[in-house]
Symmetry: C2
Subunit: 257 residues, 2 copies
Amino acid sequence: MTHSIAANAANDSGRQPLTPASMKVACSNCNLRELCMPVGLNEEEMKRIDSLIATRRKVKRKTALFRTGEKFHALYAIRTGVFKTCVTAEDGRDQVTGFQMAGEIVGLDGIVHDQHTCDAVALEDAEVCVLPFDRIGELSREVGALQHHLHRVMSREIVREHGVMLLLGTMRAEERLAAFLLNLVQRLQARGFSRSELVLRMTRQEIGSYLGLKLETVSRTFSRFAEEGMIEVHQRQVRILDVERLRGLLAQPGSGF
Amino acid sequence: MTHSIAANAANDSGRQPLTPASMKVACSNCNLRELCMPVGLNEEEMKRIDSLIATRRKVKRKTALFRTGEKFHALYAIRTGVFKTCVTAEDGRDQVTGFQMAGEIVGLDGIVHDQHTCDAVALEDAEVCVLPFDRIGELSREVGALQHHLHRVMSREIVREHGVMLLLGTMRAEERLAAFLLNLVQRLQARGFSRSELVLRMTRQEIGSYLGLKLETVSRTFSRFAEEGMIEVHQRQVRILDVERLRGLLAQPGSGF
DNA sequence: CGAAAAGTTGATTGTCTTCAAAACTGGTGG
DNA sequence: CCACCAGTTTTGAAGACAATCAACTTTTCG
């Protein structure tokens, strides 16, 4: 039982296997570099990119990095913590459009109208690098790799949202939750965490909003997965016991006719 | 009755109020310029942008401009015709992610992995400008306005998809269809068409796929709107009789708590 | 023209939502 | 340090909405 949920929780309080505290404020020696910056730069280019980071900013749990309507002036690279982004309709309904973690970029929505069109809220105490957008523009004119990297980041977001649309448009509750869990655990694994255990940073309500389900449905579906022995759930701590069966939920039901 | 549905249909067969046939192959004198290119360029810059257009390409109804898995090498600016883009899950289910018309850009999904991740299919005979992506990269390094324009196009797509996610995640069938019709008519109006009449280029099935509904539900909802006097439907020809009530469908139901 | 595709409408079913109550958790202040 | 309280989660029962299944009509296009 070396990997019990309790052990995972402990590991988790001492989070950031990738980001020791003693780090200089620079991309060039940031452990998240491969996640949020282009690779294969020479020293000169790296120095320039370093100059891009204006500041870091700490964001307390439950507070916003930016909100709808605020002026856009920077993108943010997440260093630590998990964020949610959500859009709000005129009538007050809102929709979580994504959960973002270390190495991912938020703020792309603001570019079109020079104004943010969604809220980015920290689900736990977090820290971000502030990347002033006009600096990104200048630099990417000089450093081709940065230009292409930015394009890829934006394109990746478009493709991710295609996937969410597929989920929301065609999947049933069980499939949605399975897809959600598999996606989360895959991203956590890429960051050095367990491939089978995770701590949810968001509420059932927030998961439901993201998946187009009510919180009760999310809760019930978790319970059903647990009953069937596919996962183990203790509040926000989840252990995946049978990845294959979870994956199976995604491929099965339409049977592809 | 100057704007009868029949009249609209007639107008429609003689489409292209914005693009006479005698046009040179250049952005500088393209009537869609404001839609798909940056504004406020000097002559020198305009000339460079013109050089970006490698070719035009005609796409027959029901054929693909590109398909999932094909190598990405260009973005496409739609000159005439309407496209749908759709993603396909491993199990064969697919989801229409958008309908694109004159002046809009498709192909952004291909940038991340140098490979398209969705299909773009013409719903009617269409023509596009081919914009080789490496040329866009070079040019946007030289022409700041083009660079910023590209960023805005991508950001706009991200924001649009946020809206679709809100629709798929929170709206009921009537609201979805109302939102769809209002969005469509608004974009057509921006292109010089009627604000109250439109010809759907897509099937009920395709509308349903986009809205996360079955085709029967789309058909029923059209019928209900018609019964209630909000619209008039004759197959694919739709006349909007009461925009305000349609708009009301979007704001009402949650009453915003 | 004729076959295939698209659209409409009805009856029934299934899934998710809604409403409700109770249990649990974690943080705060006495 | 413990009690308490608000927020979160679980679970049940009933209801609503859209899906499914099915039959039929209309339109499109080769």
